[in-house]
Subunit: 211 residues, 2 copies
């Protein structure tokens, strides 16, 4: 099943069920796509407007980047489901004998590594999306700036959501050196892009809110 192609209502209904996928990682990729699309909309409402002729080139470049990211996020919705299934099977392997325990450990470790790679990639794409929002918010049409603020908030939420899916998997890994490396990558992405998104949101809020 391609989760990007089912209806929004069906995605949400499956997400709220005990079906193993989609899960929190795939949902984070979806929210990243929604956030990125909001930035893209700001671009769409800016290009071709005389008042914004000076930033036309920027907007075209930003829209291309946003379009690409939207597609990548949707692919990551699917990829997250693909790496979760082997992990879910691995959790169910028998551990009666020593040989079974060793085999389970080996399979689990490989599945956990895969299951970390996707949320880490989602986080990295969220960082790219937040950088785009910074420019959409600063240069895009004032009439659409609220959407850049909303988009930045969503990309941050997707970043946070994906981080928990890194931590849950690194927490179960035997290779603590590699687990620590993944955790530090996630920590660094949170530390860089979380506050960046907050600044975009606050600047948009201050611009819009009138007493």
């Amino acid at each position: 099943m391609n989760f990007a192609e089912i209806s929004c209502a069906e995605f949400i209904s499956r997400l709220g069920s005990k079906a193993p996928v989609p899960g929190g990682g795939g949902a984070s990729a979806l929210v990243g796509a929604v956030g990125t699309a909001l930035g893209n909309m700001v671009g769409a409402l800016t290009v071709g407007k005389k008042k914004y002729a000076e930033v036309e080139g920027d907007m075209i470049r930003l829209r291309e980047a946003a379009e690409k990211l939207q597609g990548e996020f949707l692919t990551l919705v699917q990829r997250d489901a693909e790496v979760f299934e082997p992990l879910s099977r691995a959790y169910g392997l028998p551990k009666e004998t020593e040989a079974q325990r060793e085999e389970k450990d080996r399979v689990m470790e490989a599945a956990l590594k895969e299951a970390c790679s996707v949320p880490l990639e989602i986080m990295s794409k969220c960082g790219e999306a937040i950088r785009l929002h910074e420019e959409f918010a600063a240069k895009g049409s004032r009439l659409a700036v609220s959407d850049a603020g909303v988009g930045a908030a969503f990309c941050k939420a997707a970043l946070l959501g994906a981080s928990l899916n890194v931590y849950i998997n690194t927490g179960a890994m035997k290779d603590r050196a590699l687990a620590g490396e993944y955790n530090r990558k996630a920590d660094a992405l949170l530390a860089e892009y979380g506050p960046c998104s907050d600044r975009i949101f606050e600047s948009v809020k201050n611009y819009l809110k009138k007493e």
Copy 2:
């Protein structure tokens, strides 16, 4: 068009275009639905488990509430589109003569009030959803707790997103007393539920993250 029934990919593609709807308000309702579904999933993975027999009644109650909220958020995706269309038409009304200006002001003011009511309702539903996540995170299966943390982060992002859609509309209202009243409602919802969501997220993160 029913925006809850189109595919996720199509929703995102329309959102990223210059089509007037869906916009930031509808996208916030969608993210609220995604967040709520993640809490609901925690409930689904907890009910029927011997280890969690003590909270079975709570989980059933929480899941019913989450199920209801998911449906309400999806209805709000659509309602936001419905109230935006008259506002978008009102912005385009002529203002050549004094009579036209008066008519435009009157139509705009009514459309702006409507366009504030939906994001305020989205914010209020986000608050309810965050309260559910508080319980899902505290009482639900430890194996699924990451999803409660992700869900709380998404519901906060939806709360923030909807708030900008209140502020942009109150900013354009002539009736400053009413605009102030709406702003204060939005401020109060942000002040109450934003930090509440942050606490849920941090507690889940601290539980999951191992050095």
